[in-house]
């Protein structure tokens, strides 16, 4: 019983991270019908922004303070939002009217460009660096089950951000414009929607989400390096597809399913080396029977 509870907590912690990253993927896909492969690298840039901001911010607010942590997250999210918009402006906008494959290949190019630039000795260097603690960490023990404040923080933040995204998309003016662009770019622009601005905003929002995910990921496993985003990014992409790409709650459900599957499979001694193989085989099965993903019904409103 303890084992089940402990693994559920572990899986929830990991799954929430995947969910948070998947939200960003799905967001951009919903508007542009295009996978931004550089998303996982923006995640890494978010973690490194926080890494470099921490000494400055903690000088003002003290180490491991809540205000300081919120400041760091907001600043890092801001930096990454600007970077995300810049990437869109420089790499994707000139290709807006080209075949979608061209943009996809460019996205992979941007991703590799960021990864290898970041690995240079004069940028971040390729070595793993210690990510400072942003918040005081509390451990809790219930019987034989252990968890800490970060394990609780991650799902809470993920759900809050899901709610915030849903609110922005469904209840605000800019959200209405986003949905309009998603349905038909040309028609939207004829109705007076500034398509460029909406797409820029979407990228900014997606990148801010990536930055927050990167920081939470680094808080969970305090070693950061330029390739840290690759593996969770791939998982999150799959989670987004699993949940029904373009669907916000679907991304969260997909992320949680994937995280829990991985954790439980990893915890079975004779299966642990087949963990990823089995997890992905299950995903393929799900997609065979539900090709649009778990929540991706045609009737569900796309972002």
């Amino acid at each position: 019983m303890d084992w089940l509870l402990q693994q559920s907590i572990n899986g929830l912690g990991l799954g929430s991270i995947y969910a948070l990253i998947a939200l960003g993927y799905t967001m951009v896909y919903g508007i542009l019908r295009f996978i931004n492969f550089a998303h996982s690298d923006v995640l890494m840039l978010g973690a490194f922004s926080a890494f470099y901001l921490e000494p400055q911010v903690s000088r003002l607010f003290g180490r491991e303070s809540v205000v300081g942590a919120i400041m760091i997250v907001i600043l890092a999210a801001g930096i990454c939002a600007v970077l995300g918009m810049l990437i869109e402006f420089l790499a994707y906008r000139p290709l807006r009217n080209r075949p979608r494959l061209t943009v996809l290949i460019t996205a992979i190019g941007v991703s590799l460009f960021i990864e290898f630039t970041a690995q240079h000795e004069k940028v971040f260097s390729a070595k793993t660096q210690f990510f400072p603690r942003l918040l005081p960490e509390h451990s809790f023990q219930m019987g034989n089950v252990f968890f800490n404040s970060t394990d609780l923080l991650v799902p809470v933040v993920t759900l809050l951000l899901l709610a915030a995204m849903w609110f922005i998309v469904q209840k605000t003016r800019i959200g209405t414009a986003m949905r309009a662009v998603s349905y038909n770019q040309q028609a939207a622009s004829l109705m007076g929607v500034n398509v460029n601005r909406i797409i820029s905003f979407t990228f900014g929002l997606g990148s801010a989400l990536a930055a927050i995910a990167g920081i939470l990921y680094a808080m969970k496993a305090p070693g950061i390096e330029p390739l840290m985003g690759v593996q969770p990014g791939l998982r999150a992409f799959i989670a987004a597809v699993l949940g029904g790409i373009g669907n916000l709650p679907g991304a969260v459900v997909g992320g949680l399913v994937l995280g829990i599957l991985e954790t439980f499979l990893g915890g079975i001694p004779w299966l642990s080396s087949y963990r990823d193989g089995i997890a992905f085989a299950i995903l393929i099965l799900i997609l065979l029977f539900k090709p649009a993903g778990l929540l991706g019904k045609a009737t569900v409103e796309k972002v």
């Binding site: 572990n10 969970k220 305090p222 070693g223 991985e262 954790t263 990893g266 001694p269 990823d276």
Partner: protein, 382 residues
Amino acid sequence: MLARLLSRAALPLSLSFALFLTGCGGGSSESTIKVGEFASLTGKEATFGTSSHEGTLLAFEELNAAGGVLGKKLELITEDNQTKPGETANAVNKLIAKDNVVAILGEVASGRSLEAAPICQQSKIPMISPASTNPKVTETGDYIFRVCFIDPFQGTVMANFATNTLKAKKIAVFTDVKSDYSKGLAKYFKEKFVANGGTIAAELDFNGGDKDFKGQLTAIKSSNPDGVFVPGYYTDVALICIQAKQLGLNVPMFGGDGWESSTLLEIGKEAVEGNYFSTHYAADAATDKVKNFVEAYKKRFGGKVPDAMAALGYDSAYFLADGIKRAATAEPAKIREALAATKEFDAVTGKIAMNEKRDAVKSAVILQVKGGAFKYVETVNP
């Protein structure tokens, strides 16, 4: 079709060949002995590569300052494989084909040494690995040597340590399935520990580079082991130790020489405190050879204390120089013969004898993380 492709390829090929010839025309190959080195100077295991490279570099500088070998200066040509699979083959091919080196030194990780070994063997260029401990490395062929002990020995040492010093009855083993080194070490540990009368409580796997190990660690914890053997590399090990503590798994963790890096302490902090690992030498040992080496290294590299990889990198260079001296020529085949005949070579990491498998027979030491540093615990002889 093939012919057309070939003729297309022929022009750039012949061009580059011409460039290559003019590039070599300087006559430098006659006045120096060229030695190639490949190392992971950047990437995930950068501290390993950097340490072994610095050790090698120091040895070359000392040798050249003392007049070189056979009256010629030694020239070290270093290539970085970025800790990436595939890059090593490129680097080694370049060293052999373009730079015409007479021998190759490298590298720490067994997986990447195994990539280089078949190329060196085929080209009949002696290769000396400073720190690859997987037996398969030298099994590639008679041109491949190493100056470190091998995993069966290291695994045995840690199994005896678990039985005798930790007094452990049940040990869980947590292996990196992506690494030949980790799998080899786990195998030999299990064999010996079971032979000692112990039981393996649980066997779990992870993928090097993972960041979340809680699923596996929860399973390890529920098997109630007396200790956990983690034959991984330092970045993964640090995160594993942190997450084990978070899950309330408070038993000693121990591993092999893949743990030895200051990064382990930087990331792991108090979570790695009290844990043990086996390695090649202790910088706080009391022999003259070690003291002189530590002194020279500190002076050359800004006060840094050399780790085992640095010591082995240093030893690999001196071992090669010794071979060239005894061969009395810089011909690769003759160097190979001389190296294979080494009976007693006095190295920083202990006396080395080459056995018939071209593996070094030597002792191991066990270190413990104590107060944020590595402290000497005991020496284990072969």
